[in-house]
Amino acid sequence: MAVIESRVAPIGTNSLPERRFPSFRQRILRNRPASIGLIVLILIGAITALTPLFIDADRVTAIDLTSQQQRPSVERPLGTDELGRDVLVRLLYGGRISLMVGVGAASIAATIGVFLGGVSGYFGGRVDALLMRLTDMVLGLPYFFLLILFASLFRPSVLSLTLMIGMLRWTTMARLVRGEFQGLRDRDFVLAARATGRSRFSIMFSEILPNAMGPIIVQFTIGIAFAILAESSISYLGLGIRPPTPSWGNMLSNAQGYLFLAPWLAIVPGLLIFITVLSFNFLGDGLRDALDPKLRR
């Protein structure tokens, strides 16, 4: 592996006079895209999460032969699909699935990544070498390729799909956390904690982890965005979430044929995926700026 010396050298000091910095909240809120993204996500999250309280689940799949393929109306803002199912309802439930997969996969990736990266970074030495070799191996897998393979061989449920994506995408997090831990493990507060004879893991996760939280959160946010894209792609190919269970990906794939008669059926799900992912990316970027001392302006 390549090691770059200058990484250890201090950054230049031709910088500005010191000033007191705005608080984290100020910074994140001053970043307009990030704050918009945050708001959008809160909206989408809240709406999709609360949907079941207002609309009972069987409306998602129940067929209504008296109202097939209606155009948008007051009662059904997005009309109905070829089986008379309210498209909006399906979109909302589909959104839940997509978000669940996204957040779930990112969480799995984060958990694995933080643990392995943490251990590797804190203990170093053999453990580190071993774990990093493992990370390289997983990184070496052609992941989307494997994802498609998995999905086409084993018909994935929401859960298994989430697991697949999560298990294939923890490497970035692992490396990140490893770096953070290496940087932090010799800091005074850690040495102090060590001096009190606390267990390594309690030190790792109660002393170091909180200090490494910033980058982890950023990576997590971006991870969600990625996972949502992956899920929708797989479902679009018809290998992911299968109808009648709605997901934005498979709804889009099912609605393609209507691109001419009822374009909204195909455009809206794609747009939702796009907006959600975009929001997550904006948020992640905003968080990075807000959390990164170097970029403070």
Binding site: T66, S67, Q68, G79, S253, Q256, Y258, F260
Partner: protein, 654 residues
């Protein structure tokens, strides 16, 4: 992915044309006539209903009318009918009847409902003629190119015998058959064999080959080639036609134009079906003794005698053919006095899936689209198209499982009244309207297709009648519980239905689910991929009912395995159904299979059909139509009953 995943997942063309391969021609013969008549009769019958159009597509329908529909729906549910009912459909129809002419002119709505009956949607015009109607006399255009599509990725043109449609889809263009069928009457007619005789004992078939049949390389089609191919079909490990040629004991070729086939046992369908084999040039396969699988890929130069000369395959892209002007069935052969091929070049374009094919069709890159999903009919109406609408040979069925290991009470379906009740509970008509937009022949009896021999009225029928259904169930002791679900001795009438995720099966299964709900039967649905589905329906049997598309009306053996007694591997009916003893299904099958001619077997099929209708091993819901979209600049399309496909040799540029 879409309705056609199975097809694309098989890597075959046009959404499973393969399934219609194995057809007993003689039976076809009769059956097609019946089917056409039946179709016409049904269309007439449904005119009344159809006047008022469908519950279907209404992107263009004025809003207040939808509101009425919705109120109707509310009223209905208020009465507690719930789910779907004729009333609801008529309510919806009542709405459509006020549709203004301008709307019906656009073809949406009304058009969709009538299925068999209507004329056009947007710029798409429906055609149902049995013979192609030639405008003027078609002439050969050397520079014209016909572009057909297929869902396939990596073809191997040499392989004519394995179960992959593609090869048939193109083989039917490249090779000639020993005998052929009249495209409309489906009489067995001469092809390479200009005549044939069958010995009285039904064990010896003698074919006399015509003299003017030549391979592309100019050499004549000889009895050696016929023998070679027939044996290839028989011996090829991957041949799915093996069982047809199993009875062959030996083949003699006394001279270059006579083939004598000796069978080990009487085998009624041998002429029509066994005769319908592609004849490849033996020389093309020299070096690997009939093991076509061993043909080196470099040798992708099949030699046939058919109308289209194979030129090249560009994997993942297309296959190219050129017209064979020396084809012995050229001008004058066809009843209309015309004779193909009329296009200089034939291109078969490969697509990743139906969706890209559809887009490509709309973009004008390809001349046909098959099979058209009813979902897309209006979309296709955006471009100038002929939509050829023919009754298909598939039937959507529901198989009962008589021995589900997961179920404590194995006797759930044992009483035939329960099965009858479930049949009465389903409105096949409404189902067809809802799912297939009326492109659909409903069935109210368990007809042993293709032997649709008796007129409908003569047969035991199970019309839609929820009351009767409830009654029957009550007789057996199933009484509605508090939650509306039937109960008997504490046991609830809850069953598990499994269905493939392809061919709109999940959708219609859900419709059935609602019909069942109406009579107090609650059904859980599992929508499965082909692989796990096969696992459950053939090995585990952990289901109660199986929504299965029954493909075509093939060789009896094949149908037999579905309905006759469950004795793997041959007799396999997905439901461990058993019916033995004199006059039983098994008995009748055995008799049929040992006949030597159709004249003998037909009366037996009558009996078998009645027997089936009595014992109801499965419910037949109906047959979706076969829809083919062809650009209007291409004329002369003629559905080929054999392939659910067509012989592009009759097509000609407008």
């Amino acid at each position: 992915m879409r309705d056609y995943t199975l097809a694309s997942s098989l890597g075959v063309s046009g959404g499973g044309k393969s399934e219609e391969l194995m057809v007993d021609r003689s039976v076809w013969n009769l059956m097609r006539r019946r089917q056409y008549n039946a179709a016409r009769r049904l269309a007439e019958q449904r005119q009344l209903v159809d006047e008022c159009g469908p519950a279907g597509i209404d992107f263009l329908r004025p809003r207040q009318q939808r509101l009425i529909a919705r109120r109707e729906l509310l009223r209905r549910t208020a009465v507690g009918a719930g789910g779907v009912s004729l009333a609801a459909l008529f309510a919806a129809c009542g709405v459509d009847s006020n549709a203004s002419p301008s709307q019906s002119a656009t073809g949406t709505g009304t058009a969709t409902a009538t299925g068999g009956g209507f004329e056009s949607i947007g710029r798409a015009t429906f055609r149902r003629e049995q013979y192609p109607t030639y405008e003027g006399t078609p002439a050969f255009h050397a520079d014209a190119t016909l572009r057909l599509g297929a869902v396939i990725s990596d073809p191997s043109p040499l392989d004519m015998v394995s179960g992959l449609t593609y090869y048939y889809g193109t083989a039917v263009w490249m090779y000639d058959w020993l005998i052929d069928l009249d495209p409309v009457t489906l009489e067995v007619i001469p092809s390479v064999a200009e005549s044939w005789d069958i010995s009285p004992d039904g064990l010896t078939y003698t074919f006399h080959l015509r003299s003017d049949a030549f391979f592309w390389d100019g050499s004549p089609v000889t009895s050696e080639d016929v023998k070679f191919t027939m044996l290839a079909y028989r011996n090829e490990p991957l041949s799915t036609l093996k069982s047809v040629y199993e009875p062959i004991e030996s083949i003699d070729t006394p001279d270059g134009r006579t083939v004598v086939v000796h069978l080990s046992r009487r085998f009624a369908p041998f002429l029509a079906w066994g005769g319908q084999m592609f004849i490849g040039k033996k020389a093309a396969f020299v070096g690997f003794e009939g093991r076509m699988q061993d043909a080196p890929a470099s040798l992708t130069v099949p030699i046939g005698s058919g109308p289209w000369i194979f030129e090249e395959v560009v994997p993942g892209s297309h296959a190219r053919f050129s017209a064979n002007r020396n084809w012995f069935r050229g001008a004058g052969w066809d009843k209309t006095g015309a004779g193909g091929p009329y296009y200089g070049t034939l291109i078969q374009k490969f697509y990743a899936d139906y969706q890209s094919w559809l887009f490509s069709y709309l973009g004008g890159e390809v001349d046909d689209l098959y099979p058209v999903s009813v979902k897309d009919i209006e979309t296709i109406g955006q471009v100038d198209s002929w939509i050829y609408d023919t009754p298909s040979t598939v039937t959507e069925t529901m198989n009962f499982n008589f021995n589900n290991p997961d179920r404590p009470n194995k006797t759930l379906f044992d009483d035939v009244r329960v099965r009858q009740a479930l049949y009465h509970a389903v409105d096949v008509e409404g189902m067809g309207k809802a799912i297939w937009k009326g492109f659909w022949e409903p069935r109210t009896s368990n007809e042993v297709h293709p032997w649709m021999l008796k007129p409908y009225q003569d047969q035991i029928k199970y019309e839609y009648d929820p009351e009767k259904a409830r009654g029957l169930l009550a007789e057996v002791g199933w009484i509605a519980g508090a939650d509306g679900v039937l109960e008997r001795g504490g046991e609830k009438f809850t069953i598990l239905g499994v269905c493939p995720k392809t061919y709109l099966a999940p959708e219609y299964a859900q419709v059935v689910q609602q019909y069942f709900k109406e009579v107090g039967v609650s059904m859980d649905l599992q929508i499965l991929d082909s692989a796990p589905l096969r696992e459950i329906t053939r090995n585990k049997f952990t289901f109660d009912v199986y929504f299965r598309r029954h493909w075509g009306w093939g060789y009896p053996e094949n149908f037999r395995e579905v309905v006759s007694t469950h004795t793997p591997p041959t007799g396999l009916n997905y439901g461990r159904f058993s019916d033995t003893g004199p006059g039983s299904v098994d008995d009748l099958w055995n008799q049929i299979l040992s006949t030597s001619s159709n004249e003998e077997s037909v009366p037996l099929f009558y009996e078998l059909q009645d027997r089936q209708a009595e014992v109801l091993p499965s419910l037949f819901f109906g047959s979706p139509h076969d829809l083919v979209a062809v650009r209007k600049n291409v004329l002369g399309h003629q559905p080929n009953p054999m392939w659910q496909d067509w012989d592009p040799m009759w097509w000609y540029p407008a």
